[in-house]
Point group: C2
Chain length 488, copies 2
């Protein structure tokens, strides 16, 4: 009986092996197809990846010429491999990362080289017995200190790689000195080959189809705000009109776009760190206020968090009955749509670096007016005969929307600040008004607040308001007014 089962087992193992072998070609083929499909997707998603790969190949081949050409090889010798190494290690996807790494590598090598030579000289004065002990002590001490410094958050963000290279070079130079006599030549060769490698990388990354981290950050933040706008623009109709049709909703990408905003902090911070290495390019000056993008990003994430809470009501099974919904439908839809449109306009303003003609944004004013209407509506007596339980989901949605309106306003303020810092172009704005106001001796204030925002107020201070101006000034006041009440 037992032998029989052992035999069966053997047969079953054999069979399984046979099936595995039989399926193998199919499996391999499927894997190959899958990889090919993935390759295509990765290339199509961002064609700059293909270009970057070609650039790396190009620079490596260029730098390896040092080995092939006798005159070049004569002057550097085996040290030429440091140039190859530098290219592999320094050449990153974006210009900022490449410059950052190149700078770190160059500076760290220089500093560590000088210190290493110094340590070697100091140690060599103590004689053949003391030398290795003293060098060992130096190596130990600088490794401990440098490694600890790498834990400082600010250092980690910008100079982590530099410190690693510092430790490396210091060890190499000071230890090599124990065996080589021409330690200065070693240090100088290492430095010059690294300089050649790094500068080749930087030049190619800047002048051949450059990928700018700053531009990526700029577009990413604009994208995120647009995604939030898309959700809000569509939310009203989704919630109030086509309730219960969850299947239809699956295909709508605008309802899930906001999710990518939620976890974007790290990417944004990383891009901002890299962008700071980049020289001025295109629309961006050197020292463009990248930090302001991070602020906008933080506010966008706060808004996305509210939207996440809102989204759960979209998928909730229990909905308020039509009679309840109809009462608030109009105001809530206005709040949502206008907020969405405001965000989309802000996104466009960032993307094109153009300041919108109306500031503060009319969509935000509309959204706030809707929020105020909601308050009046809730105050009215028409609710007395309605079961409170049925009102709660709608009330929660309305409350969240009101919260989102505040978020949108914060984002608007933050984008206005960005516009001020980076001097966005103004759209349809008559700058003679600016001049007029400045004539009244308010230059300082205008400078502080950015002219275009203040034009209307300044005009109101200095001249009798026309109808149009009065209307705008009223809406300005109402903005201040609603700011407190909007939080229903």
């Amino acid at each position: 009986m037992e032998m029989g089962s052992a035999n069966n087992e053997k047969i079953s193992i054999f069979l399984r092996g046979w099936w595995f072998m039989k399926d193998l070609p199919k499996k391999i083929l499927a894997k190959v197809v899958e990889i090919a499909r993935q390759t295509k997707t990765i290339g199509q998603d961002d064609p700059r990846r293909v270009i970057h790969s070609l650039k790396v190949g190009l620079v490596l081949t260029l730098v390896s010429l040092f080995y092939y050409f006798q005159p070049l090889y004569k002057s550097f010798g085996v040290s030429a491999m440091w140039a190859v190494m530098t290219v592999v290690v320094v050449f990153e996807f974006s210009v900022g990362a490449t410059i950052g790494k190149g700078f770190n590598r160059g500076l760290a090598t220089l500093l560590a080289g000088v210190l290493g030579v110094g340590a070697h000289h100091l140690a060599s004065m103590t004689g053949k017995v003391g030398e290795p002990i003293l060098i060992g002590l130096f190596v130990f001490l600088q490794a401990v200190v440098s490694t600890f410094i790498r834990f400082f958050p600010k250092v980690k963000a910008r100079y982590d790689y530099g410190l690693m290279i510092f430790i490396l070079t210091f060890c190499l130079v000071s230890i090599s000195g124990f065996r080589t006599d021409d330690i200065l030549e070693l240090a100088q060769k290492r430095l010059s080959t690294i300089f050649i490698g790094a500068s080749t990388c930087v030049i190619v990354s800047i002048f051949v189809c450059p990928v700018w981290s700053g531009e990526d950050l700029h577009n990413l933040v604009a994208d995120h705000i647009e995604k939030l706008g898309n959700f809000l623009e569509g939310f009203g109709s989704e919630y109030f009109e086509e309730s219960g049709e969850a299947e239809k909703r699956d295909g709508k990408s605008f309802l899930v776009g906001y999710k990518s905003v939620l976890n974007s902090k790290n990417t944004e911070e990383n891009l901002a760190n890299l962008a700071r290495w980049e020289p001025g390019h295109g629309k961006f000056m050197y020292l463009h206020p990248w930090k302001q993008y991070l602020k906008i990003g933080t506010l966008a994430r706060q808004c996305a968090c509210r939207i996440e809470a809102l989204n759960s009501y979209l998928n909730s099974q229990i909905k308020a009955p039509d009679e309840v919904r109809q009462k608030v439908q109009e105001t809530c839809k206005t709040m949502s749509t206008e907020s969405g449109q405001a965000l989309k306009e802000l996104s466009l303003a960032i993307r094109t670096m153009t300041r919108a003609a109306d500031s503060p944004n009319t969509h935000i004013i509309n959204a706030k007016t809707a929020a105020r209407n909601l308050i009046s509506l809730l105050k009215s007596d028409s609710w007395a005969d309605i079961n409170l339980l049925l009102v709660v989901p709608v009330a929660a949605v309305a409350s969240l929307l009101a919260d989102i309106v505040i978020c949108v306003e914060d984002i608007d303020e933050s984008v206005t600040e960005l516009a001020r810092l980076t001097k966005f172009k103004s759209q349809n704005l008559n700058f003679s008004n600016c001049k007029m106001a400045s004539d009244e001796g308010k230059n300082k204030q205008l400078e502080m607040n950015g002219c275009p925002d203040q034009v209307i107020i300044s005009i109101n201070l200095t001249a009798p308001a026309t109808d149009h101006q009065e209307k705008q000034s009223q809406s300005q006041e109402s903005v201040q007014d609603t700011r407190q009440n909007v939080k229903v």
Copy 2:
């Protein structure tokens, strides 16, 4: 006049320069004090950082012995510096990162070395003219392909460093071959020194005060859930009792702890990636289900998002009047506190890897009962005479809390799954019940669902229920019941 102003300017520049010089020592002192303070904080926050720095110093000093001792230097020569380089580059803070980098470096060097030698031989057959051209072509092609492969998300997460080393080694070996005849010796020396450096790092990182990424992930997830629990436990009293006292709230850390959960995705994924390299240690086996921690983390972030929305009501100026609040105060406080306690229990369960005696968690059952009470309360007529506007904020808070109860339940399920996967110890559980149920031929089901959860139901199926059991089974049903209704 103009000369006078130029003179004035010179004096002002001189004065400014003087002030700057006068303030310099003070500024430098302030900076030094600031750095010292920061150093102390970084060291105290995580003393493992100090230990890590010492470990790096130790290993570097150890490896540099290759240079000092004649017998060791004889066998490796200048190649010994590869060992030093390997240590600097491979030795990371955690065991997982060190093993991952060491493995990547070792394997990539081996593969690229073999391919590089192959490429060199192939090229050398074409003669002195064709050789550099063919090698250049090989270098270009492999650099392009390898660089592109680095963009694959799965490769980037685990083998990015390996691919970099692959490009590096391939270039070095194939290009060096053009100048050196004993290319095999070069490859072999590079490989053996890298092996020595990497294995020293791995051994020291495992056996001298190890820092495990897996353990960090485990603690991080438990911490996050505890932070959410702390907020919820405190929220009820904060919102309903001490409203308007925003100043008092500033000192309460439990109200802001949840914010660190919101942006934790990247850290968690990073730790999980590193943890997969680690061998079994302490409470964790090799191939511990780290992915399950990521699932719990995702749910925790969803919950934190709801809490963020809830938090905005805490700081809102407009609050419902006492009469409205008193009506829902009790149920809302129960929902919040019980959810908080449930989360804190789950956090403790993860931390100690012990399964709680009551499953499903009685706190969750209480929270759900409260949610059901809230529904009855809202259905009642006692609201007819209250202005709806005043109810909305409270209704929104109640609705968010109900949403959070669902989140907490999801987290509970996810932790239960983790307990099943990692076989948490059971607390106060009589396993003879398990045996009894399994005697009834339900082994399969029990295996699938994890025994302790099913004990109660199984008993109800096989024996007349006692009072206690009946009560528990009822609450089980009510869990199913509320699952649909809890979303008010």
